[in-house]
């Protein structure tokens, strides 16, 4: 594993940061002065959600996102560790498809949270 990876923040003038892949992005970006929202710091409350547009992260510890939000690219920065160079849109500006009116826009069975979702094939 590389000692550092490069994180690009598209809605922060494409600023780049060198961070450790072993620690959560919220910590390593905040240490370098990036102003980011956060709440619970254990992956449960969604306040720090950001949109990943390139690259991969390990966010197995998150429990906040449903599968639709994951498919829309959202990652939970307080637990997500980069697995290589990543490009992100951060902050509330990135939350355009994070929130939805649950009555107007229901989730399909496979879009629920991982612990209750039915795989798409099985639902057919």
């Amino acid at each position: 594993m590389a000692d550092t990876v490069t994180i690009t923040l598209t809605n922060r003038d494409n600023a780049t940061y060198q961070v450790s892949p072993r620690r959560p992005l919220l910590e390593t970006l905040r240490e370098q002065g990036v102003d980011l929202p956060w709440g619970c710091e254990y992956g449960g409350c969604i306040t720090c959600a950001a949109k990943l547009t390139e690259g991969e992260v390990d966010q197995r510890a998150q429990v906040a996102l449903n599968n639709r939000q994951i498919n829309n690219g959202y990652v939970i920065l307080c637990v997500a560790r980069p697995e290589g160079d990543c490009t992100l849109e951060v902050g509330v500006e990135s939350h355009d498809t994070l929130y939805r009116n649950p009555f107007l826009d229901p989730l399909a069975d496979h879009e629920l949270k991982a612990d209750i979702a039915t795989p798409k094939d099985a639902a057919r």
Binding site: P37, G39, G44, V63, A64, L104, P106
Partner: protein
């Protein structure tokens, strides 16, 4: 109130004679708004004779960002009226996301509260394996707080016990029994009972509301009757479809009464319970708010009863339909047969009152607090940052607001006061969202008589 005694009042009837509130303490949040500032406690001038009436006169910022201040409570209430060593001096102001508890001194200078102490969320999690603080009640000189999750945000959580010096004693309860979720609670010691309600696990409700998760039993539909002295649940009432997401719990203020109420938010019902002549607890649905059609919705809009409140004389029940946009007043002199006596509209999704007192109301009527004499009801519009963002996304730019409703305590009836409005869209650091309110002299959700 005489000099010999402790905080609060000898009885609900005495409380009703107290001087009118001149200050309000109200929570305002930036968590989830995109403004990178701490949440704060506002002091609002409620004295109609004052030049700064209906304005925020001071703001106490919390030390950290992202707490999501939500509900709060006093260190002492009428439950220690006989203890002259106690005083209603400190507000305990929890952060539901951070688990930090902020102890705020409101007595040294009531117009400018100051931070007295912080109990960090990390300490609470490590000592008690609890997170997500919600309801604060004092209990004689001690304090208990419902905690909605374990340290990892899983249900059911439990109850945090603090001593009067705000030190962690540990877990209050001896057992959570088969309780699946926590939320609000209220106790009535003369019946040796506490009743608790159910929201969901923090990991479920904090990221926002997925309706489908209700069907997957991720949200509550039961209330629990505790043996208060043994500190363990004794009986569970399964409310089913009539009681989806039972939130705010209120017993009669009369300490001899066994009657109490809970608002089922998603079912939009009021559930009433009481102890029958045989000593058995019974429950019934007494109010059912019909879902309302909406031009753009495929299904009718549920009311979503986010709060209920009883007047100090136990005559009137108030509640809000956060999605519809109305506040209702029912005469519950006969608690089995409530009579609708008043209704006002502000905000909401049905478009009945988009603007009130010159302010665009974003959100709907949400937290309410009633004066001790029952005549002034203060209302705020934000529910919870992530849920606000789902149902009322414009609140990000408009902020919340506070209004006041004049209540007729003789014949019943409500009217929005034309001279009182606090527009949190115009706060100095940008639009914030206002939530729960408490008064320095006690109010209709703080005081319990033992």
């Amino acid at each position: 109130m005489t000099d010999c005694c402790g905080p609060g009042y000898a009885s609900p009837a005495e409380a009703m004679k107290a001087p009118a509130e001149k200050l309000l303490y109200t929570i305002a949040i930036y968590t989830g708004t995109g403004i990178q500032k701490p949440d704060y406690l506002c002091t609002i001038d409620a004295d109609p004779e004052s030049e700064t009436y209906s304005k925020v006169i001071s703001r106490l910022e919390m030390p950290g960002i992202g707490d999501e201040l939500h509900h709060m409570g006093w260190n002492a209430c009428s439950s220690c009226f006989d203890d002259s060593s106690m005083a209603r001096k400190y507000l305990i102001v929890p952060g539901v996301r951070s688990t930090n508890l902020h102890i705020v001194d409101c007595a040294a200078d009531p117009r400018n509260p100051t931070l007295f102490k912080v109990i960090s969320g990390k300490e609470i999690k490590s000592k008690t394996n609890l997170s997500a603080p919600h309801t604060v009640h004092c209990l004689g000189s001690e304090i208990i707080i419902s905690m909605l999750g374990d340290a990892n945000g899983n249900a059911p959580g439990g109850y945090l016990h603090l001593n009067k010096d705000f030190e962690i004693v540990g877990r209050w309860e001896n057992s959570m029994g088969d309780i699946k979720f926590g939320y609000d609670f209220w106790y009535q010691p003369r019946h040796n009972v506490m009743v608790s309600s159910e929201w969901a696990a923090p990991n479920t409700f904090m990221p926002g509301f997925d309706l489908e998760e209700v069907g997957h039993l991720k949200y509550g539909r039961e209330i629990h009757f505790w043996d208060f002295e043994k500190k363990e649940p004794k009986q569970t009432m399964y409310l089913g479809e009539d009681g989806l997401i039972p939130l705010e719990v209120r017993f009669h203020h009369n300490p001899d009464s066994s009657h109490g109420f809970v608002g089922a938010a998603l079912s939009a019902n009021i559930i009433h319970w009481w102890k029958d002549d045989a000593g058995e607890w019974q429950w019934e649905k007494i109010i059912d708010v019909e879902n309302e059609p909406h031009p753009e919705w495929p299904i009718p809009v549920p009311g979503v009863i986010s709060v209920i409140l009883l007047s100090m004389d136990d005559r009137f029940l108030y509640f809000c339909n956060w999605l519809h946009g109305d506040i209702r007043q029912y005469d519950i002199s006969d608690p089995h047969n409530p009579v609708l006596t008043g209704q006002v509209w502000m905000g909401g999704l049905l478009g009945r009152a988009p603007e009130v007192n010159g302010v665009q109301v974003t959100g709907g009527p949400q937290m309410i607090q009633l004066s001790l004499d029952g005549k002034r009801l203060y209302v705020t519009t934000s529910l919870f940052s992530t849920w606000d963002n789902q149902f009322y996304p414009e609140i990000r730019t408009n902020g919340g607001c506070m209004l006041m409703v004049n209540c007729d305590t003789e014949k019943g009836g409500m009217e929005i006061d034309p001279d009182f409005v606090v527009d949190f869209g115009k706060e100095p650091n940008g639009p914030s969202r206002c939530h729960e309110t408490r008064y320095p002299g006690g109010d209709c959700t703080s005081d319990i008589w033992v």
